[in-house]
C-alpha cells in the first residue's frame, strides 16, 4: 500500500516536471502561431495588407474588426530596417513582435507626435555597431532594438465607423518597411 502511494507521489512530482516542460517547449513547437500563419502571405521586409476578418475566414483569431491591419514580416540578418507609417485620421499604432509573437514595443500616432511615424529597427548588435556620434546627432531619430533577428511589425489603423474603413486602408497603404542603406555606411 505504502509502496503504491509512494509511486503515486513520485508520478505526480514527475507530472509537475512534465507540465512545466511542455508549457515552456510549446511556443517553440507551435506550427499554427501568428508568425506561421503570416509566413505564406507576408513576404520578408515588405508591408502587406492583411484582409479584414470575416466570420468565414480570418488570418488570425481575435483580430479587431474595427481596425485595418498591415504587417511587415522582418528579417534583420542583412541589416537594419527603416519603417515609415503615415498616420490615419483617427488612430494609428505600430506594434513590434518577436519571432514568438511577444510584443516588445509599440508606439501610436500621438506618442510619435508627427504626421508620419518614422523609425529604425535593428538588432542589439547592429545598434551597438552604430558610430557613436551618429547616435548623438540623430536625437530625434527613433531606434527600436529587436530582441530576435526575425519578427513581425503590425501596423493598425482604426476606422471609427465602418464607412471610414477605406480611408484607413488608403492611409496605411503608403506604409513602408525597407532595408536602410544609410546606416551601414553613414555619410561623413
Amino acid at each position: 500500500m505504502i509502496r503504491w502511494l509512494l509511486l503515486l507521489l513520485g508520478g505526480a512530482l514527475l507530472g509537475g516536471i512534465v507540465h512545466l516542460a511542455t508549457v515552456i517547449i510549446l511556443p517553440r513547437t507551435a506550427t499554427r502561431d501568428a508568425y506561421a500563419r503570416l509566413e505564406p502571405i507576408a513576404p520578408v521586409n515588405k508591408v502587406v495588407p492583411i484582409p479584414a476578418a470575416t466570420p468565414d475566414s480570418a488570418t488570425m483569431p481575435f483580430m479587431d474588426p474595427a481596425f485595418v491591419l498591415a504587417v511587415c514580416r522582418y528579417d534583420l540578418s542583412q541589416g537594419p530596417l527603416k519603417l515609415t507609417v503615415p498616420v490615419s485620421l483617427s488612430y494609428t499604432s505600430v506594434s513590434f513582435y518577436t519571432r514568438n509573437d511577444i510584443a516588445y514595443y509599440a508606439i501610436n500616432d500621438r506618442a510619435a507626435g508627427r504626421r508620419v511615424i518614422e523609425l529604425d529597427l535593428m538588432t542589439v548588435e547592429q545598434h551597438n555597431q552604430l558610430p557613436e556620434e551618429e547616435d548623438v546627432t540623430a536625437a530625434d531619430r527613433l531606434i527600436v532594438d529587436s530582441p530576435t533577428t526575425t519578427g513581425i511589425i503590425a501596423i493598425r489603423a482604426l476606422a471609427p465607423e465602418p464607412g471610414l474603413m477605406e480611408k484607413a486602408k488608403s492611409a496605411i497603404a503608403a506604409a513602408q518597411c525597407r532595408p536602410s542603406t544609410d546606416t551601414a555606411k553613414p555619410a561623413r
Binding site: 514527475l14 468565414d56 483617427s90 509573437d101 510584443a103 509599440a106 471609427p160
Partner: protein, 192 residues
C-alpha cells in the same frame, strides 16, 4: 515484475498529471498578473516582454498577436456579472462607462476567436459610433433578435465572448481594480 509495474504506474500518473495540467492551463487561458474588474479579465503583462511562460504558450497555441501594452489593453468577458456563461440565445445588456482611453472597441467572438455571422454584418462597436445617454454612459443590447439602440447581434450561437479593447490608455500593469477603472456591467436580462 513488481518494479516494472510500479515504474509503469508512476510514468502513467506523470503523463496524465503533466499533460492534463498543461491542457487545463492553456484552455482556461491561465497566466499570472490577471487584472479582474467585475466579469472582465485582462492580462496586461501578456502584451509585454514580461509575459510569463503560460501567456507565451497560450499566445502560440491560439495563434494571435496580443495587444501590445503601448498600444492598448484588452479585457475579455466570458460570463455575466453573476457568473452565468454568456449565451447567444439570451438578451444581455452591457451598460456603464469605460476607463479613460482615446478610443475603445467592443467585439463579439465565438470562443475560438472567430467573428460570428449575422444578418446585419455587425461584430462590434467603437467608442465613436456608439449611441450614448446624456451622462456619457452607454448600453449595448447583445441579443439574437433586433433591438433598439446599440444592438450587437449574437447570431444565436450558444457561447460567445466579449472583448473590450482600450486604446491609448493609462490602464496597464500597475492598475488596480477600483474607481479609476470603471468597467461596464454585464447583465443577462432575459432568456428564452
Amino acid at each position: 515484475m513488481r518494479l516494472l509495474l510500479g515504474t509503469l504506474f508512476a510514468l502513467i500518473v506523470a503523463a496524465a498529471v503533466g499533460l492534463g495540467a498543461t491542457y487545463f492551463a492553456l484552455t482556461r487561458g491561465a497566466a499570472f498578473g490577471a487584472l479582474t474588474i467585475g466579469t472582465w479579465t485582462s492580462f496586461p503583462k501578456t502584451g509585454t516582454t514580461d509575459a510569463d511562460p503560460y501567456a507565451r504558450a497560450s499566445i502560440a497555441r491560439i495563434g494571435r498577436l496580443p495587444t501590445a501594452l503601448g498600444d492598448g489593453v484588452s479585457f475579455t468577458a466570458q460570463s455575466d456579472d453573476k457568473g452565468k456563461a454568456l449565451d447567444g440565445r439570451c438578451d444581455v445588456v452591457v451598460s456603464g462607462v469605460t476607463p479613460a482611453s482615446r478610443f475603445w472597441t467592443i467585439t463579439l467572438y465565438n470562443p475560438a476567436g472567430e467573428l460570428v455571422a449575422n444578418t446585419v454584418d455587425r461584430h462590434g462597436f467603437t467608442s465613436q459610433e456608439i449611441v450614448r445617454r446624456a451622462d456619457g454612459s452607454f448600453a449595448i443590447v447583445v441579443a439574437p433578435r433586433a433591438s433598439a439602440g446599440n444592438w450587437l447581434p449574437t447570431g444565436g450561437v450558444e457561447r460567445y465572448v466579449l472583448v473590450l479593447r482600450l486604446y491609448d490608455t493609462a490602464v496597464g500593469v500597475s492598475t488596480k481594480a477600483g474607481r479609476e477603472v470603471p468597467m461596464p456591467a454585464v447583465t443577462t436580462r432575459s432568456c428564452p
